[in-house]
Subunit: 377 residues, 2 copies
């Protein structure tokens, strides 16, 4: 899911998360200097990019945690510990982005060079300087070497961020059962996110057939689990909530996550770029296997859509035509109805006695759902 | 460092490590089936490759642990816990191999397809089957898509193995200070290994100049830390040894690791392939920046060596010529003397009062050193 536009979570404590992230990454970057200037420089690029996001996941965690703690009740954890766990979700997020970008061969994110793009540009700038020729015997041309260097940086930095996320959870002085539950949750999150990324690449490289179910499953695994289920359930574990609440939040996170992703797909294709702030038609141009496309594949209009979508570079006029075709074949309406289903499911979980969500938490979730349904960006 | 040839460690408990690895990976592979047959298949490839290594690191850990525990003294840990931590070192090793192979673009390891090679081959075999064409709109040609699919598999499986290593340490029921020390050691190991890999690619892509010091530093960071320092220090922590012993083992691990790597470089170039079992001249053919090459760069013979080494495919005759030139320019002798220095350093640490190594441990290390110096394979 993209991170532009308004955010769904509450804002409590976002500043403390930024400060904690800054502190953590500053420490790591300082330590990196020990391994030479190239490694220090890599850390600098990573730090600049890992900080300054919208902190969607940390804010969701903090908002849910606050809502789960009854006022005046003593809590087993310091505020600092909760903030650290919130920062952990952002670090995990950046680890996934780093490896995603290597896998997709992307050089930009949110309109500016990502880590790979920055390393590549820096290297190309330097290549003009005298004495900077490839080592004797280095394989491949200049361009291949530069690219390999930049992608290596992305893989390795992703490994470090993934390790940091584990270290943060493992070192937190939580009561034994809470630590084990949080470790379980982290493990589950990573396995699902990896399985989702694997499925995404399976779909986009033709390893498995593109069906609507496979695309929805991919979105849930790749995005809903770490963006919604992880922060919500981590909040429950940290607040000492019982397993019934944890279980309800797992279902809720999946439904919310899928609703947000599908809404994102709709906005990116049918929304106004001035409002959502993304490149108009970037999903179409990148030929993303969204739920819209998956639906369209099963309709009579598909051969006509595919003739354009499956071809070369798409002009604005091509994209406008495809957009109208996606509307005409019923894909827009079908995805809107999928969103509505998930929203209804969220509302049901929030209001059901059985799900056992405390009222303040249900209110936080309802606000999120309302924001989602009114979302234009 | 390669893993062929005889091993330096003691054999105690290797079977229990194999059994533990098998149990752990079987559980993970079974869980993977939940995410579809492609993901399950990936796990099968990974499991086949992660098991069946020579268990150099686990055996070193177990050997050192046994030597650190005085007979008859009660120990704080079960044997099963020590075996799990030994298995962890092998899991970390395989995580590094997976990302290494993606970074180097390698498709084989020890003469058989690695994970990437196996996934690629399977996909190519299947591409002959009807209905297996790329999805409409998939980027790039068939070959690019296949390669991207295979490398994605390597990146993602590496992430899972890296996560597993952390989970194993984090979940072990160790006394608090031991767990924190082991987490510190794991963190240190990963940072150094990543910095070493980064330096390796910096050298091989021409990002920094190739010097002997940089090559030695790279070998220590990339290999010595996780192959020798980690198992030795983990043994010390698990056995409850004091910090002085831990510190001595850190120095020892670095010296031993570098000695083994340099000996490996010598054998690979000057040893007999029938004895070391590797492709003759593979280091030369892959244009590895070894200490031999780094030394040769500073000699008058370099222009002549570089004319061959820096050119196209190397024939057997080319390699034999380069080998003679590496001898003639003094590179072989210089590297032998580096090995001798490190061996002397190990012996000094083993015998010094100040280093405080218990006698049985010093004996284990001395046996390793003796094996190293007599090593032909």
């Amino acid at each position: 899911m993209r991170e532009s536009g308004t955010h769904p979570g509450p804002v409590a404590g976002a500043e403390s998360v930024s400060a904690e992230l800054d502190r953590l990454l500053r420490g790591r970057a300082a330590q990196a200097a020990r391994y030479g200037s190239e490694f220090a420089r890599l850390w600098q690029h990573a730090r600049e990019r890992a900080i300054g996001g919208k902190l969607l996941r940390p804010r969701l965690l903090l908002g849910a945690y606050d809502a789960l703690i009854a006022p005046g009740v003593s809590v087993p954890l310091t505020h600092a510990a909760v903030v650290r766990m919130a920062a952990m979700t952002e670090i995990l997020h950046y680890a996934f982005l780093l490896h995603d970008d290597v896998i997709d061969g992307d050089l930009t994110r949110r309109g500016r060079p990502n880590l790979i793009g920055a390393v590549l540009r820096e290297r190309q700038d330097r290549a003009g300087a005298p004495g900077e020729t490839p080592a004797d015997g280095a394989h491949g041309g200049r361009e291949d070497l530069d690219r390999r260097w930049a992608e290596t940086s992305g893989i390795l930095m992703g490994d470090l961020f993934l390790s940091m996320a584990h270290q943060l959870v493992a070192r937190e002085a939580l009561p034994g059962p809470a630590r084990d539950r949080l470790l379980d949750l982290l493990d589950h999150t990573i396995v699902e996110s990896v399985a989702g990324e694997h499925l995404d690449v399976a779909l986009s490289t033709g390893a498995i057939p593109v069906t609507r179910d496979a695309v929805l499953r991919m979105s849930q695994l790749k995005t809903a689990t770490y963006t919604f289920e992880l922060p919500l359930r981590a909040a429950a574990i940290l607040a000492g909530a019982d397993r019934a609440i944890d279980h309800s939040l797992a279902r809720l996170g999946q439904a919310l996550g899928l609703a947000f992703q599908l809404q994102d797909d709709l906005l990116s294709t049918f929304g106004h770029p001035d409002e959502h702030g993304k490149d108009a038609f970037s999903d179409l141009r990148e030929r993303k296997e969204t739920a819209l496309i998956a639906h369209a594949r099963d309709t009579a209009l598909w051969p006509e859509i595919a003739a354009r979508w499956g071809g070369g570079e798409l002009s604005d006029a091509d994209c406008r035509t495809i957009r109208e075709q996606l509307r005409a074949c019923g894909a827009e309406r079908a995805v809107e109805s999928l969103v509505a289903d998930r929203v209804a499911q969220c509302r049901e979980i929030c209001s059901s006695e059985e799900a056992g969500l405390p009222r303040p938490l249900a209110a936080v979730i309802s606000a999120l759902v309302a924001e989602l349904t009114g979302r234009r960006a």
